[in-house]
Symmetry: none
Subunit: 234 residues, 2 copies
DNA sequence: TCCATTGTTTGATGATAAACGAAGCGTCGA
DNA sequence: TCGACGCTTCGTTTATCATCAAACAATGGA
């Protein structure tokens, strides 16, 4: 088989991978740049988990999505911007320009959002980096992922915010770890400490949660407080 | 079903239409903007005419191609530029940027090329228009397509080029007709007279055929001769 | 008018693949 | 260590679809 025919075949396999309603719903869902778990995507695609797993495998073998395991979950996301662009080009054919795909994470989600029970986005990543450079937290080696301990500086600072670090340590969950941020591609602070920080930020109205999505809005109070307490100019 | 889900479904149907090797070969073949007959496309797709017919119907129902009947033939071509753009976006995913699709007729083909045994492209269309305005040929009405007769002016001119018009009239084929030019979307001169003109142009080295494609190169001699004999400034 | 060419439609057949449940494998939290 | 949970793999069923030959329709030329 010559190179031309082989390229055609590869192209048709990619198009076929997109040409199945359930798989297209999966791709469409991932278009915002977020990573989703297998279970979430099964619900979106409206198929059983086992069926979704087969679909995800197929999309992966065509390099349309990539996966990264994190603990119990497997996070799937688009392989890259080309995939989003191809889907957008296809959507032009379907019903004109009736509906536009959002090729990347929307600005309002990219800046700050919740990731389960802690902060993600630019805000979350910046805070994580600042806590590290202020030496409130320090990395400890572990075979899987980044784990953190709270230093004596950190203990003082967190208690100053009204966080009960000892109680957080006794929760049946990871204490503090670097949680991969999918819009920033860098770590933000997860675990019990991360959750406690979000709780404080919400309670003190540094950020407010929007309805209907996971976005967080930074208030002017929050802007001031985060600058004063962490030296972080957002 | 909500609008979102319906758009996804339409999208997946389009992707599925492209996701079949034979159909993709057809689309790929049509990417140069030319129209092809059902039989030609069956050969390209390497399937039987009946199978090709089914595929062409499917592509047509998804508005990826359009058809126009001309006599015994049915000419298929891409629906529009968006289809070419979508295929190009997909080809980025297949094997990187290894091979680029040509979304429209390449310049070298657009200017001048063979159409079976006569001239097409800008050159062919210009010549056709000029022969009409010089009254070498005149349109005669016919229920299907444009047919032409050669006037006394034309007879003189063609004989001056060494063309045996009487012999051309006796060939078992259409004498002269307007053949739709798919890159120009206008007619060029086909039939026995069109073929005889190409033969002369090749013999006198006004144009030379390139190897491997249907392109024609206009020589400087051809440029001069066509200007002198037809008053055509290319 | 007749025949060759071109193309579509139909019907039958075989291959592909999408779907699910059950079972298996890892990881997390108690 | 022991479930609980998330996810995948396997095996089976079912439905879809690509394919071709044969029949049919339309056109052009002799």
């Amino acid at each position: 088989m010559d190179a031309e025919a082989q390229a055609d075949l590869a192209l048709s396999r990619i198009a076929a991978a997109m040409g199945e309603p359930a798989r297209l719903r999966i791709l469409h869902c991932l278009l915002d740049g977020h990573a989703r778990t297998s279970t979430e995507l099964a619900a979106v695609a409206e198929v059983s988990p086992s069926t979704a797993s087969v679909h995800l495998n197929r999309l992966r073998s065509e390099s349309l999505i990539k996966v990264s395991a994190q603990g119990k979950h497997r996070y799937y996301r688009l392989q890259g911007g080309e995939v989003a662009r191809a889907l957008e080009a296809l959507s032009v054919l379907a019903g004109g320009a009736r509906r536009r795909f959002v090729p990347s994470t929307p600005v309002y989600l990219r800046f700050a959002r919740t990731c389960y029970d802690h902060m993600a986005g630019t805000l979350g990543v910046s805070l994580h980096d600042q806590l590290l450079s202020l030496r409130w937290i320090a990395e400890i080696h572990n075979r899987r992922g980044h784990l953190y301990q709270v230093t004596s500086y950190g203990l003082e600072g967190l208690m100053g915010l009204g966080i009960d670090v000892a109680a957080a340590r006794n929760l049946h969950r990871r204490f503090a770890f670097g949680c991969m941020d999918w819009s920033e591609r860098r770590a933000h602070l997860g675990g019990a400490i991360g959750a406690a920080l979000l709780k404080v930020a919400l309670k003190r109205k540094w950020v407010v949660q929007e309805v209907g999505n996971r976005a967080l809005s930074l208030t002017s109070l929050g802007h001031r407080e985060i600058h004063n307490r962490f030296g972080l100019q957002l």
